[in-house]
Amino acid sequence: MIEKRTADVIIIGGGIMGCSTAYRLAKLGLDVIVLEKKEIGNGGSCRNAGGVRQSARDPKELQLAMYAVANIWPTLSEELGVNVEYHQKGNIRLGLTEKDVKILENHTAKSTKVGLDVKMISGDEAREICPYMSDEIIAASWCPTDGHANPLKTTLGFYKRALDLGVTFISGVEVLGIKKIKGEARIVETDDGDYEGGQILLCAGYDSRRIANTVGIDAPVERQVNEVLVTEAMPHMFDIMLGVAGGEFYGHQSEHGSFVLGGNSGLQAFTSNTDHFMTNSLTAPCISRGIMKYFPCLKNVKVVRTWAGYYDQCIDVLPIIDNIKEVPGLTVAFGFSGHGFGISPAVSIALSELMTTGKSTTIDISQLGYDRFKSKG
Protein backbone atom coordinates (compact mmCIF):
# COMPACT_ATOMS: atom_id res chain seq x y z
CA MET A 1 0.00 0.00 0.00
CA ILE A 2 1.36 3.40 -0.91
CA GLU A 3 1.40 5.68 2.10
CA LYS A 4 -0.96 8.59 1.74
CA ARG A 5 0.90 11.90 1.92
CA THR A 6 -1.23 14.31 -0.09
CA ALA A 7 -4.80 15.47 0.28
CA ASP A 8 -7.06 18.41 -0.49
CA VAL A 9 -6.62 19.55 3.10
CA ILE A 10 -3.96 18.79 5.69
CA ILE A 11 -5.19 19.51 9.20
CA ILE A 12 -2.55 20.01 11.86
CA GLY A 13 -3.92 18.90 15.23
CA GLY A 14 -6.18 15.97 16.09
CA GLY A 15 -8.16 17.78 18.74
CA ILE A 16 -11.84 18.60 18.61
CA MET A 17 -11.33 21.46 16.12
CA GLY A 18 -9.33 19.22 13.80
CA CYS A 19 -11.65 16.22 14.15
CA SER A 20 -14.87 18.17 13.74
CA THR A 21 -13.58 20.21 10.79
CA ALA A 22 -12.22 17.05 9.15
CA TYR A 23 -15.70 15.58 9.51
CA ARG A 24 -17.37 18.62 7.92
CA LEU A 25 -14.87 18.89 5.07
CA ALA A 26 -15.19 15.16 4.35
CA LYS A 27 -18.96 15.59 4.27
CA LEU A 28 -18.42 18.24 1.60
CA GLY A 29 -16.46 15.69 -0.40
CA LEU A 30 -12.92 16.84 0.37
CA ASP A 31 -10.03 14.50 0.90
CA VAL A 32 -8.47 15.19 4.31
CA ILE A 33 -5.41 14.08 6.29
CA VAL A 34 -5.21 14.97 9.99
CA LEU A 35 -1.78 15.01 11.61
CA GLU A 36 -1.55 14.54 15.37
CA LYS A 37 1.59 14.69 17.49
CA LYS A 38 0.38 12.39 20.27
CA GLU A 39 -3.06 10.84 20.49
CA ILE A 40 -6.48 11.95 19.30
CA GLY A 41 -7.86 14.62 21.62
CA ASN A 42 -4.80 14.68 23.83
CA GLY A 43 -4.75 18.43 24.46
CA GLY A 44 -7.50 20.72 25.70
CA SER A 45 -10.14 18.76 23.78
CA CYS A 46 -10.13 15.97 26.33
CA ARG A 47 -8.93 18.19 29.13
CA ASN A 48 -11.87 20.45 29.93
CA ALA A 49 -14.93 20.32 32.14
CA GLY A 50 -17.42 19.98 29.29
CA GLY A 51 -19.23 23.30 29.48
CA VAL A 52 -21.61 24.09 26.62
CA ARG A 53 -22.22 27.60 27.68
CA GLN A 54 -23.37 30.85 26.13
CA SER A 55 -23.56 32.93 29.29
CA ALA A 56 -20.55 34.97 30.37
CA ARG A 57 -19.09 34.84 26.88
CA ASP A 58 -17.67 37.82 25.07
CA PRO A 59 -20.25 39.05 22.54
CA LYS A 60 -17.57 38.66 19.84
CA GLU A 61 -17.75 34.87 20.08
CA LEU A 62 -21.26 34.54 21.48
CA GLN A 63 -22.73 33.89 18.03
CA LEU A 64 -20.69 30.72 17.75
CA ALA A 65 -22.05 29.52 21.08
CA MET A 66 -25.64 30.44 20.36
CA TYR A 67 -25.52 28.81 16.93
CA ALA A 68 -24.05 25.60 18.33
CA VAL A 69 -26.62 25.41 21.14
CA ALA A 70 -29.54 26.16 18.84
CA ASN A 71 -28.57 24.03 15.86
CA ILE A 72 -25.95 21.39 16.60
CA TRP A 73 -25.69 20.20 20.20
CA PRO A 74 -29.27 18.95 20.65
CA THR A 75 -28.89 16.37 17.84
CA LEU A 76 -25.14 15.81 17.89
CA SER A 77 -25.33 12.32 19.47
CA GLU A 78 -27.54 11.11 16.62
CA GLU A 79 -25.38 12.86 14.05
CA LEU A 80 -22.19 11.22 15.28
CA GLY A 81 -23.61 7.87 16.37
CA VAL A 82 -21.89 8.35 19.72
CA ASN A 83 -23.60 9.49 22.91
CA VAL A 84 -21.92 12.81 23.64
CA GLU A 85 -23.90 13.09 26.89
CA TYR A 86 -25.28 16.52 26.11
CA HIS A 87 -27.59 17.92 28.77
CA GLN A 88 -29.23 21.29 28.31
CA LYS A 89 -30.47 21.95 31.82
CA GLY A 90 -29.04 25.43 32.30
CA ASN A 91 -25.97 27.08 33.71
CA ILE A 92 -26.05 28.58 37.15
CA ARG A 93 -23.36 30.94 38.33
CA LEU A 94 -23.33 31.38 42.07
CA GLY A 95 -22.49 34.27 44.34
CA LEU A 96 -21.72 34.38 48.06
CA THR A 97 -20.93 38.04 48.56
CA GLU A 98 -22.08 41.45 47.39
CA LYS A 99 -18.92 41.66 45.33
CA ASP A 100 -19.91 38.40 43.62
CA VAL A 101 -23.37 39.75 42.89
CA LYS A 102 -21.83 42.76 41.09
CA ILE A 103 -19.74 40.43 38.89
CA LEU A 104 -22.82 38.35 38.06
CA GLU A 105 -24.96 41.39 37.30
CA ASN A 106 -22.29 42.73 35.01
CA HIS A 107 -22.12 39.45 33.00
CA THR A 108 -25.90 39.21 32.89
CA ALA A 109 -26.29 42.74 31.57
CA LYS A 110 -23.75 42.13 28.80
CA SER A 111 -25.39 38.87 27.73
CA THR A 112 -28.97 40.18 27.73
CA LYS A 113 -27.86 43.08 25.58
CA VAL A 114 -26.95 40.65 22.77
CA GLY A 115 -30.18 38.71 23.13
CA LEU A 116 -29.25 35.83 25.41
CA ASP A 117 -31.78 34.55 27.93
CA VAL A 118 -29.90 35.18 31.17
CA LYS A 119 -31.27 36.57 34.39
CA MET A 120 -30.34 37.20 38.00
CA ILE A 121 -32.08 35.00 40.55
CA SER A 122 -32.09 34.96 44.35
CA GLY A 123 -30.33 32.43 46.55
CA ASP A 124 -33.64 30.72 47.28
CA GLU A 125 -34.53 30.51 43.61
CA ALA A 126 -31.09 29.03 42.97
CA ARG A 127 -31.72 26.42 45.67
CA GLU A 128 -35.04 25.59 44.02
CA ILE A 129 -33.14 24.77 40.82
CA CYS A 130 -30.53 22.81 42.73
CA PRO A 131 -31.43 21.93 46.32
CA TYR A 132 -27.93 20.68 47.19
CA MET A 133 -26.36 24.12 47.46
CA SER A 134 -25.22 25.95 50.56
CA ASP A 135 -27.59 28.32 52.36
CA GLU A 136 -24.84 30.92 52.14
CA ILE A 137 -25.49 31.52 48.46
CA ILE A 138 -27.23 34.89 48.13
CA ALA A 139 -27.72 35.22 44.40
CA ALA A 140 -26.98 33.64 41.04
CA SER A 141 -27.15 34.26 37.34
CA TRP A 142 -29.20 31.72 35.41
CA CYS A 143 -29.07 30.81 31.75
CA PRO A 144 -31.60 28.03 31.16
CA THR A 145 -30.36 27.18 27.64
CA ASP A 146 -26.79 26.40 28.67
CA GLY A 147 -25.60 22.88 29.37
CA HIS A 148 -22.72 20.49 29.26
CA ALA A 149 -21.48 17.44 27.35
CA ASN A 150 -18.75 14.85 27.59
CA PRO A 151 -15.71 16.33 25.83
CA LEU A 152 -13.95 12.97 25.46
CA LYS A 153 -16.91 11.31 23.80
CA THR A 154 -17.56 14.39 21.65
CA THR A 155 -13.99 14.66 20.40
CA LEU A 156 -13.67 10.94 19.74
CA GLY A 157 -17.18 10.89 18.26
CA PHE A 158 -16.18 13.50 15.68
CA TYR A 159 -13.00 11.50 15.07
CA LYS A 160 -14.93 8.28 14.52
CA ARG A 161 -17.39 9.92 12.12
CA ALA A 162 -14.56 11.58 10.21
CA LEU A 163 -12.87 8.17 9.87
CA ASP A 164 -16.15 6.70 8.62
CA LEU A 165 -16.27 9.41 5.93
CA GLY A 166 -12.82 8.55 4.68
CA VAL A 167 -10.54 10.94 6.56
CA THR A 168 -7.02 9.61 7.23
CA PHE A 169 -5.62 10.35 10.69
CA ILE A 170 -1.92 9.94 11.31
CA SER A 171 -0.83 10.11 14.93
CA GLY A 172 2.65 10.07 16.40
CA VAL A 173 3.83 12.62 13.86
CA GLU A 174 5.18 15.96 15.02
CA VAL A 175 4.79 18.97 12.77
CA LEU A 176 8.00 20.96 12.46
CA GLY A 177 6.75 23.71 10.21
CA ILE A 178 4.82 24.84 7.17
CA LYS A 179 6.49 25.45 3.84
CA LYS A 180 5.22 27.67 1.08
CA ILE A 181 5.31 26.64 -2.61
CA LYS A 182 5.04 29.53 -5.05
CA GLY A 183 3.60 31.81 -2.41
CA GLU A 184 1.05 29.40 -0.99
CA ALA A 185 1.09 27.25 2.13
CA ARG A 186 1.26 23.71 0.76
CA ILE A 187 3.76 21.54 2.58
CA VAL A 188 3.59 20.41 6.19
CA GLU A 189 7.04 19.39 7.33
CA THR A 190 7.11 16.71 10.01
CA ASP A 191 9.53 14.42 11.77
CA ASP A 192 8.02 11.80 9.45
CA GLY A 193 8.68 13.68 6.22
CA ASP A 194 6.50 16.06 4.22
CA TYR A 195 2.75 16.03 3.73
CA GLU A 196 1.18 18.14 1.02
CA GLY A 197 -2.24 19.69 0.87
CA GLY A 198 -4.14 22.09 -1.32
CA GLN A 199 -4.91 23.90 1.90
CA ILE A 200 -3.66 23.70 5.44
CA LEU A 201 -5.67 24.13 8.63
CA LEU A 202 -3.64 24.84 11.72
CA CYS A 203 -5.57 24.01 14.90
CA ALA A 204 -2.94 22.59 17.24
CA GLY A 205 -3.78 24.40 20.46
CA TYR A 206 -0.85 26.22 22.00
CA ASP A 207 1.52 24.50 19.58
CA SER A 208 -0.13 26.52 16.81
CA ARG A 209 1.89 29.60 17.61
CA ARG A 210 5.20 27.78 17.13
CA ILE A 211 4.02 26.29 13.86
CA ALA A 212 2.53 29.59 12.58
CA ASN A 213 5.86 31.23 13.36
CA THR A 214 7.48 29.08 10.67
CA VAL A 215 5.62 31.10 8.02
CA GLY A 216 6.12 34.39 9.84
CA ILE A 217 2.73 34.59 11.53
CA ASP A 218 2.52 35.30 15.25
CA ALA A 219 -0.30 35.75 17.73
CA PRO A 220 -0.29 36.74 21.41
CA VAL A 221 -1.17 33.31 22.75
CA GLU A 222 0.41 31.73 25.80
CA ARG A 223 -0.36 28.50 27.49
CA GLN A 224 -1.73 28.39 30.99
CA VAL A 225 -2.25 25.33 33.12
CA ASN A 226 -5.67 24.59 34.59
CA GLU A 227 -6.77 21.52 36.43
CA VAL A 228 -9.81 19.36 36.93
CA LEU A 229 -10.68 16.95 39.66
CA VAL A 230 -12.96 13.98 39.07
CA THR A 231 -14.84 12.24 41.84
CA GLU A 232 -16.15 8.73 42.27
CA ALA A 233 -19.58 8.06 40.76
CA MET A 234 -22.43 9.31 42.92
CA PRO A 235 -26.18 8.83 42.56
CA HIS A 236 -27.62 11.34 40.14
CA MET A 237 -28.05 14.74 41.81
CA PHE A 238 -28.33 17.39 39.10
CA ASP A 239 -27.79 18.09 35.41
CA ILE A 240 -27.03 21.81 35.53
CA MET A 241 -23.68 23.31 34.65
CA LEU A 242 -22.07 25.09 37.58
CA GLY A 243 -19.95 28.16 37.83
CA VAL A 244 -19.17 30.61 40.59
CA ALA A 245 -18.63 34.34 40.47
CA GLY A 246 -15.35 34.05 42.35
CA GLY A 247 -14.01 31.53 39.82
CA GLU A 248 -13.08 28.93 42.45
CA PHE A 249 -14.46 26.10 40.36
CA TYR A 250 -16.76 25.15 37.51
CA GLY A 251 -18.15 21.89 36.24
CA HIS A 252 -20.98 19.42 36.40
CA GLN A 253 -22.08 15.95 37.40
CA SER A 254 -21.50 13.63 34.46
CA GLU A 255 -23.91 11.01 33.17
CA HIS A 256 -21.64 8.45 34.77
CA GLY A 257 -22.30 10.05 38.16
CA SER A 258 -18.86 11.48 38.79
CA PHE A 259 -18.42 15.18 39.40
CA VAL A 260 -16.05 16.85 36.97
CA LEU A 261 -14.92 20.10 38.53
CA GLY A 262 -12.26 22.42 37.21
CA GLY A 263 -10.35 25.35 38.61
CA ASN A 264 -6.96 26.76 39.39
CA SER A 265 -4.79 27.90 42.27
CA GLY A 266 -4.56 31.55 41.29
CA LEU A 267 -0.87 30.99 40.64
CA GLN A 268 -1.40 29.21 37.34
CA ALA A 269 -0.01 31.94 35.10
CA PHE A 270 3.33 31.65 36.82
CA THR A 271 3.62 28.07 38.09
CA SER A 272 6.61 26.30 36.69
CA ASN A 273 5.40 25.01 33.41
CA THR A 274 6.69 21.60 32.50
CA ASP A 275 5.91 20.14 29.15
CA HIS A 276 3.85 17.23 30.38
CA PHE A 277 0.55 18.23 31.94
CA MET A 278 1.88 18.21 35.49
CA THR A 279 -0.67 18.98 38.16
CA ASN A 280 0.25 21.36 40.95
CA SER A 281 0.05 20.25 44.56
CA LEU A 282 -1.97 23.33 45.53
CA THR A 283 -4.69 23.26 42.89
CA ALA A 284 -6.89 20.30 43.82
CA PRO A 285 -7.06 21.45 47.45
CA CYS A 286 -7.95 24.90 46.18
CA ILE A 287 -10.79 23.57 44.01
CA SER A 288 -11.93 21.43 46.94
CA ARG A 289 -12.10 24.45 49.24
CA GLY A 290 -14.18 26.19 46.58
CA ILE A 291 -16.55 23.23 46.35
CA MET A 292 -16.94 23.12 50.13
CA LYS A 293 -18.06 26.76 50.20
CA TYR A 294 -20.90 26.15 47.77
CA PHE A 295 -21.65 22.43 48.15
CA PRO A 296 -20.77 21.33 51.67
CA CYS A 297 -22.83 18.18 51.07
CA LEU A 298 -20.07 16.87 48.79
CA LYS A 299 -17.65 16.71 51.72
CA ASN A 300 -17.35 12.92 51.79
CA VAL A 301 -17.33 12.38 48.05
CA LYS A 302 -13.99 10.94 47.04
CA VAL A 303 -11.74 12.48 44.44
CA VAL A 304 -10.39 9.69 42.26
CA ARG A 305 -8.06 11.66 40.05
CA THR A 306 -6.93 15.11 39.04
CA TRP A 307 -5.44 16.17 35.78
CA ALA A 308 -3.99 19.23 34.15
CA GLY A 309 -4.52 20.76 30.76
CA TYR A 310 -3.38 23.88 29.03
CA TYR A 311 -5.48 26.82 27.97
CA ASP A 312 -4.10 28.31 24.80
CA GLN A 313 -4.73 31.66 26.38
CA CYS A 314 -5.05 34.56 23.95
CA ILE A 315 -4.33 38.09 25.12
CA ASP A 316 -8.00 39.11 24.74
CA VAL A 317 -9.28 35.67 25.82
CA LEU A 318 -10.84 35.11 22.40
CA PRO A 319 -9.97 32.61 19.68
CA ILE A 320 -8.32 33.36 16.37
CA ILE A 321 -10.35 31.84 13.53
CA ASP A 322 -9.32 33.14 10.14
CA ASN A 323 -7.80 32.65 6.72
CA ILE A 324 -4.30 34.11 6.83
CA LYS A 325 -4.22 36.65 4.03
CA GLU A 326 -0.42 36.90 3.86
CA VAL A 327 -0.11 33.14 3.57
CA PRO A 328 -2.73 31.99 1.11
CA GLY A 329 -3.81 28.42 1.73
CA LEU A 330 -3.36 28.65 5.49
CA THR A 331 -6.35 28.78 7.83
CA VAL A 332 -5.96 28.92 11.58
CA ALA A 333 -8.13 28.21 14.61
CA PHE A 334 -6.47 28.50 17.99
CA GLY A 335 -6.25 30.64 21.09
CA PHE A 336 -9.56 29.33 22.42
CA SER A 337 -8.48 30.42 25.90
CA GLY A 338 -10.14 27.59 27.81
CA HIS A 339 -13.63 27.84 26.36
CA GLY A 340 -13.39 26.27 22.93
CA PHE A 341 -15.17 23.00 23.59
CA GLY A 342 -18.76 24.31 23.71
CA ILE A 343 -18.38 26.27 20.47
CA SER A 344 -16.34 23.66 18.59
CA PRO A 345 -19.21 22.21 16.54
CA ALA A 346 -19.96 25.73 15.27
CA VAL A 347 -16.30 26.65 14.78
CA SER A 348 -15.95 23.70 12.43
CA ILE A 349 -18.86 25.01 10.35
CA ALA A 350 -17.21 28.42 10.16
CA LEU A 351 -13.90 26.80 9.25
CA SER A 352 -15.36 24.56 6.56
CA GLU A 353 -16.99 27.64 4.97
CA LEU A 354 -13.80 29.70 5.31
CA MET A 355 -11.83 26.96 3.61
CA THR A 356 -14.27 26.19 0.82
CA THR A 357 -15.77 29.60 0.04
CA GLY A 358 -13.30 32.00 1.61
CA LYS A 359 -15.91 33.40 3.99
CA SER A 360 -17.86 32.23 7.03
CA THR A 361 -21.42 33.13 6.07
CA THR A 362 -23.49 31.12 8.53
CA ILE A 363 -21.85 32.54 11.64
CA ASP A 364 -20.22 35.95 11.99
CA ILE A 365 -16.61 35.50 13.06
CA SER A 366 -15.39 38.81 11.67
CA GLN A 367 -14.12 39.96 15.06
CA LEU A 368 -11.92 36.90 15.58
CA GLY A 369 -9.35 37.76 12.91
CA TYR A 370 -5.64 37.07 13.31
CA ASP A 371 -4.71 40.72 12.66
CA ARG A 372 -6.79 42.29 15.43
CA PHE A 373 -3.94 42.75 17.92
CA LYS A 374 -2.68 46.33 18.12
CA SER A 375 -0.18 48.05 20.36
CA LYS A 376 -1.31 50.75 22.79
CA GLY A 377 -1.74 54.23 21.47
Binding site: L156, Y159, S171, P285, M292, K302
Partner: protein
Protein backbone atom coordinates in the same frame (compact mmCIF):
# COMPACT_ATOMS: atom_id res chain seq x y z
CA UNK B 1 3.94 7.10 20.82
CA UNK B 2 4.75 5.33 17.61
CA UNK B 3 3.24 6.51 14.36
CA UNK B 4 -0.21 5.06 13.73
CA UNK B 5 -2.09 5.51 10.45
CA UNK B 6 -5.82 5.36 11.05
CA UNK B 7 -8.42 4.77 8.38
CA UNK B 8 -11.94 3.34 8.52
CA UNK B 9 -12.30 -0.44 8.49
CA UNK B 10 -13.61 -1.86 5.28
CA UNK B 11 -14.71 -5.18 6.77
CA UNK B 12 -17.56 -5.35 9.31
CA UNK B 13 -17.03 -5.79 13.04
CA UNK B 14 -17.00 -9.46 14.04
CA UNK B 15 -18.39 -10.41 17.43
CA UNK B 16 -16.70 -13.07 19.53
CA UNK B 17 -18.20 -15.50 22.06
CA UNK B 18 -16.40 -14.01 25.05
CA UNK B 19 -17.27 -10.40 24.18
CA UNK B 20 -19.58 -10.10 27.18
CA UNK B 21 -16.78 -10.78 29.65
CA UNK B 22 -16.14 -7.88 32.02
CA UNK B 23 -12.58 -6.57 31.76
CA UNK B 24 -12.59 -3.29 33.69
CA UNK B 25 -14.44 -4.17 36.88
CA UNK B 26 -14.55 -0.64 38.30
CA UNK B 27 -16.40 0.71 35.26
CA UNK B 28 -17.91 -2.59 34.07
CA UNK B 29 -16.44 -2.45 30.57
CA UNK B 30 -16.58 -5.66 28.56
CA UNK B 31 -14.10 -7.18 26.20
CA UNK B 32 -16.57 -6.67 23.34
CA UNK B 33 -16.85 -2.95 24.10
CA UNK B 34 -13.07 -2.62 24.02
CA UNK B 35 -12.82 -4.56 20.76
CA UNK B 36 -15.59 -2.41 19.29
CA UNK B 37 -13.86 0.80 20.41
CA UNK B 38 -10.68 -0.31 18.64
CA UNK B 39 -12.77 -1.07 15.57
CA UNK B 40 -14.21 2.46 15.84
CA UNK B 41 -10.69 3.86 15.63
CA UNK B 42 -9.52 4.08 19.24
CA UNK B 43 -5.95 2.89 18.91
CA UNK B 44 -4.21 3.51 22.22
CA UNK B 45 -4.83 2.88 25.92
CA UNK B 46 -5.69 6.54 26.43
CA UNK B 47 -8.12 6.74 23.55
CA UNK B 48 -9.95 3.60 24.65
CA UNK B 49 -9.97 4.94 28.21
CA UNK B 50 -11.44 8.26 27.10
CA UNK B 51 -14.00 6.58 24.87
CA UNK B 52 -15.14 3.89 27.31
CA UNK B 53 -13.88 4.89 30.79
CA UNK B 54 -11.83 1.68 31.14
CA UNK B 55 -9.22 2.35 33.81
CA UNK B 56 -11.02 5.48 35.04
CA UNK B 57 -12.37 3.84 38.17
CA UNK B 58 -11.21 3.68 41.75
CA UNK B 59 -8.19 1.47 41.03
CA UNK B 60 -6.91 3.67 38.18
CA UNK B 61 -6.45 0.61 36.01
CA UNK B 62 -4.13 -1.31 38.35
CA UNK B 63 -6.27 -4.40 37.78
CA UNK B 64 -7.33 -4.08 34.14
CA UNK B 65 -4.49 -2.17 32.51
CA UNK B 66 -2.55 -5.23 31.38
CA UNK B 67 -5.71 -6.93 30.17
CA UNK B 68 -6.80 -3.90 28.16
CA UNK B 69 -3.30 -3.47 26.74
CA UNK B 70 -3.41 -7.07 25.55
CA UNK B 71 -6.84 -6.73 23.95
CA UNK B 72 -5.97 -3.49 22.13
CA UNK B 73 -2.66 -4.96 20.97
CA UNK B 74 -4.34 -8.09 19.66
CA UNK B 75 -6.96 -6.06 17.77
CA UNK B 76 -4.39 -3.58 16.43
CA UNK B 77 -1.92 -6.39 15.63
CA UNK B 78 0.67 -4.53 17.66
CA UNK B 79 2.69 -5.46 20.72
CA UNK B 80 1.21 -4.60 24.17
CA UNK B 81 4.32 -2.47 24.71
CA UNK B 82 3.28 -0.26 21.77
CA UNK B 83 -0.23 0.77 22.74
CA UNK B 84 0.74 3.06 25.60
CA UNK B 85 -0.22 3.01 29.23
CA UNK B 86 -2.49 4.79 31.61
CA UNK B 87 -1.09 7.91 33.26
CA UNK B 88 -0.90 7.60 37.03
CA UNK B 89 -2.84 10.48 38.50
CA UNK B 90 -2.91 12.05 41.90
CA UNK B 91 -4.53 11.12 44.22
CA UNK B 92 -3.35 7.58 43.57
CA UNK B 93 -5.78 6.55 46.30
CA UNK B 94 -9.24 8.13 46.48
CA UNK B 95 -9.44 11.07 48.91
CA UNK B 96 -12.55 12.88 50.14
CA UNK B 97 -13.15 16.44 48.93
CA UNK B 98 -13.50 17.45 52.57
CA UNK B 99 -10.06 16.08 53.40
CA UNK B 100 -8.54 17.66 50.33
CA UNK B 101 -9.97 20.99 51.39
CA UNK B 102 -8.35 20.66 54.82
CA UNK B 103 -4.97 21.28 53.25
CA UNK B 104 -3.75 24.54 54.72
CA UNK B 105 -0.37 24.74 53.03
CA UNK B 106 0.28 28.11 51.50
CA UNK B 107 -3.29 29.35 51.75
CA UNK B 108 -3.58 33.11 51.48
CA UNK B 109 -4.87 34.85 54.61
CA UNK B 110 -8.18 36.49 53.83
Amino acid sequence: MAKIIRTAHTEPFVEKPDDDMIICRCEEITKGEIRRAVYDGMSTMNEVKRYLRSGMGLCQGQTCQRLVQNIIAAEMKMKPTEVGMIQGRSPVRPVEIGIFSNNKTDVKEE
